[in-house]
């Protein structure tokens, strides 16, 4: 099901390609992921889980949750949410853990490669894009890797105008900022971009990069900037694993990147900014959102976002939670109910909503694993979303050649991610001897902007938490 008549986005016709799914031919648009293409044809169930053979569908859509694994051209466990559909591909559903193929060509000796770079940036979201541009502008050689087929991270699906202060891109749509940054990165002669490439470990000898299941690159950077973003959180309720339960970012990818409508009707869980924005975007894409449920007594997100969706008549039900998802093979409906101040369910309040989509917007947690592997000291910090690295104001972790920026350093937003990325990129350049006074100025400027951004009572907890993980 395609999105039609979107008020902000247009999805121009692109070349069609054909691949096979379970032996049948299906079409896809050029540049579309396998999972998005299948979704468009109504295929929600991508596999059966390993142990219990439960149906599994798309969830995060950014390569982090492994709910979309399929066998592609005989290769098992391919993340179909970040793998582009290609002409003639053979895509198969996995029923439980996949079979290890019985035959294969031997591994080519050329399958590994050793390289060096001044600055390696892992993650091409707003933080990584800014870090790359800043270090490259200073004259450093930058390698930017991202495991998605395109750069931009979570930014390229933000069709709404940004919140925040006026000189910090507020009022501009996220996608527009994303397009600008990605364009600048692609045009920059000091930046080598490697998409479809996963960083799998930060070893003493080098960083291990895995490119398109084909090549293993051992990259030895002068400085490493980890800008891996965040993973969407999940909450427990019966059937929370059925196809049709998505992370908010996953829904955005389907609708706003690929122009695929996730379904006809939805319930959104969580009334923070992300939940409210996704609700509005679903409405824009023509999806009927029946309710936003929020377990807290108050709406967490901004008033403007809440007001916008109320105008569409979508109720925001505070003190409400999901009791269960109903369905065998996919979401067929959801039972919700109200809870009192002791977290007890008010029995008479339960209601059944007939929807095919349950969108979870219950927070994100920083993708810290590479930092842990690098030996950076971490701290568990609930306000920042989970484990975050200890760092100084210049985003240096406890390993002086490793920086962090963006959501990986604690969940905030794209604006702070860009500022932190700039700081990390500038400091890395200075430390490497390519940056100088101009980079110092950039750092000062960004530090001031971060201060402004985090000012005000709304951010008191956040400020305290950030101070708690900052050293030096």
């Amino acid at each position: 099901m395609r999105v039609k008549d979107h008020p902000v986005l247009s999805f121009p016709e692109r070349e069609e390609i054909t691949f096979t799914y379970q032996g049948k031919e299906v079409t896809a648009r050029q540049g579309e992921t396998i999972a998005a293409a299948l979704h468009n044809h109504g295929v929600l169930e991508l596999s059966k889980s390993g142990d219990k053979l439960r149906p599994r569908g798309l969830f995060c859509s950014i390569g982090k949750c492994s709910s979309c694994l399929m066998t592609v051209d005989g290769v098992p466990n391919v993340r179909t949410c970040i793998t582009l559909a290609q002409e003639g591909m053979v895509v198969e559903k996995q029923e439980g853990f996949p079979d290890l193929p019985r035959e294969a060509e031997p591994l080519e000796p050329s399958s590994t490669e050793t390289r060096e770079t001044d600055v390696l940036v892992i993650g091409g979201g707003p933080a990584g894009l800014k870090a790359s541009l800043t270090a490259a502008d200073a004259g450093g050689d930058v390698t930017l890797v991202d495991e998605n087929p395109f750069l931009g991270g979570q930014l390229i699906k933000q069709t709404h105008k940004f919140f925040g202060s006026s000189d910090l891109d507020a009022g501009t749509r996220g996608i527009a900022i994303g397009d600008d940054l990605v364009g600048a990165v692609k045009a920059h002669e000091n930046i080598e971009e490697m998409t479809g490439t996963s960083a799998v470990g930060v070893y003493k000898e080098a960083v291990g990069l895995y490119k398109n299941m084909e090549k293993f690159v051992k990259l030895n950077p002068g400085k490493l900037i980890v800008a891996t973003g965040a993973t969407e959180k999940m909450i427990p309720f019966p059937n929370n694993d059925l196809p049709g339960v998505y992370g908010a970012g996953g829904i955005q990818t389907l609708m706003n990147v690929h122009g695929v409508k996730p379904g006809k009707s939805a319930v959104i869980v969580g009334a923070g900014n992300v939940g409210l924005i996704v609700t509005y975007q679903l409405l824009q894409a023509g999806v009927d959102v029946q309710a936003v449920v929020e377990v807290a007594p108050e709406i967490g997100g901004y008033f403007v976002h809440a007001a916008k969706i109320r105008r569409f008549g979508v109720p925001i039900l505070t003190c409400h939670t999901v009791l269960e998802v109903v369905g065998e093979e996919r979401v067929e409906g959801v039972r919700i109910g109200e809870i009192d101040e002791n977290s007890e369910l008010l029995q008479e309040s339960t209601q059944y909503l007939d929807v095919g989509i349950v969108g979870l917007s219950v927070g994100l947690s920083p993708s810290y694993k590479l930092l842990a592997h690098a030996g950076c000291e971490l701290q568990l910090n609930p306000v920042l979303g989970g484990y975050v690295p200890i760092r100084d104001q210049r985003m240096r972790t406890t390993r002086d050649d490793v920086y962090v920026a963006g959501d990986a350093s604690g969940i905030e937003e794209a604006t702070s991610a860009m500022l932190e990325g700039t700081i990390a990129g500038a400091d890395a350049a200075i430390e490497l001897g390519v940056g100088g006074g101009r980079e110092e100025e950039k750092i000062d400027d960004c530090l001031n902007k971060l201060k402004d951004l985090r000012a005000g009572p709304y951010y008191r907890e956040l400020r305290k938490s950030i101070q708690g993980v900052e050293i030096g």
């Binding site: 466990n77 853990f97 290890l100 193929p101 019985r102 035959e103 590994t112 470990g201 000898e205 080098a206």
Partner: protein
Amino acid sequence: MKSRDVIIIGGGSTGLSIAYYLSKFGVDDVSVLEMNYVGSGSTGRCGTGIRAQFADEATIKMMKHAEGEWRELAEEIGFEFRQTGYLYLHHTEEELNQYRQIKELQNSLGVPTEILTPTEARELCEPLDVSKLTGASYNPEDGKAHPFEVVTGFKKYFQEGNVELRENVKVVEVELRKEGRLKKVETADGTYETEVLVNAAGGWAPAVGEMMGLDLPVEPYRHQAIITEPFKPGTIEPMVISMKHESAYLTQTERGGIIGGVGTPEDERPTYDTTETLDFEERVSRAFTAIIPSLKYARILRHWAGYYATSPDGNPLLGEYKVPGHYLAAGYSGHGYMMAPSVGEGIAELITSGETELPLDYYDPERIDRGELRDAAVQMG
């Protein structure tokens, strides 16, 4: 101060097994002191493999006996010992002939090893590339057991019996009497009086030895292993060994992950560093994909390192050593997990009766002082 008949330092496969057999023989007044948690040393990091395919009489006897005990232990304390065999791949006529001779020795000691053709080897493990093989050795009685199932099995068993197992209790000092006998053991949390002390501290055995003024000939060598994402279980049942490919060993766990590793490089020095290396990941990938090409599709999920606590001749040091009442059980050099039942039974017999029918005298630690080094046992997995 508590008084115990026997204090065992170390809650790995060695210490737990010795405690088990002591309690079987009626010595209930036993404490196992573990500075971390059970299995946190090399045991929980091991490759799960259990085999009787060795090349020397003593080790074959120890392991033939151990496999019988593993079967009974599995029943009694509740874990799975899956006898899916060890499959040694041979790549030259010379290697094949050498293993034919070893097979004769193994057969004469009751180990039913067979020599297989490459096609027969492939029947046991379909994804294997057998095109360059001259043959394979296979003992169907060899197998594997998951170390965490084993240590938690022991733990539960002790909870129901009388053995005291204490985790997060580190032994920091050992006090001897004037005449040189043991007096007490000091821990970070309490003191024990004892006349019998078992040093089952794995890679840390030298530190425990030092507490008694002993310089033990054991050195820790880092050894790494990996496990991949799961595939349909039952695809790689035997432990597959290829000496040609850096002494690689690999098999599939019950859940479906492919676990294994390659040998320690020649230039590796003793170390307590357990950081995993990219070099290992590359070597293991090359070796594994040469043995089973389709493993190039398998992603490594976890990669870790532990110790091979190594003795000068590559064989364990087992028995009473220098301080009366001090029993050493360490220095396996890479195959200490599989031996645990025989070591446990043998040491428990030495403690209770002073003798055992198992060939423990072959592993008498004093051989090193006497300069009688044994041939190194075949190592890996």
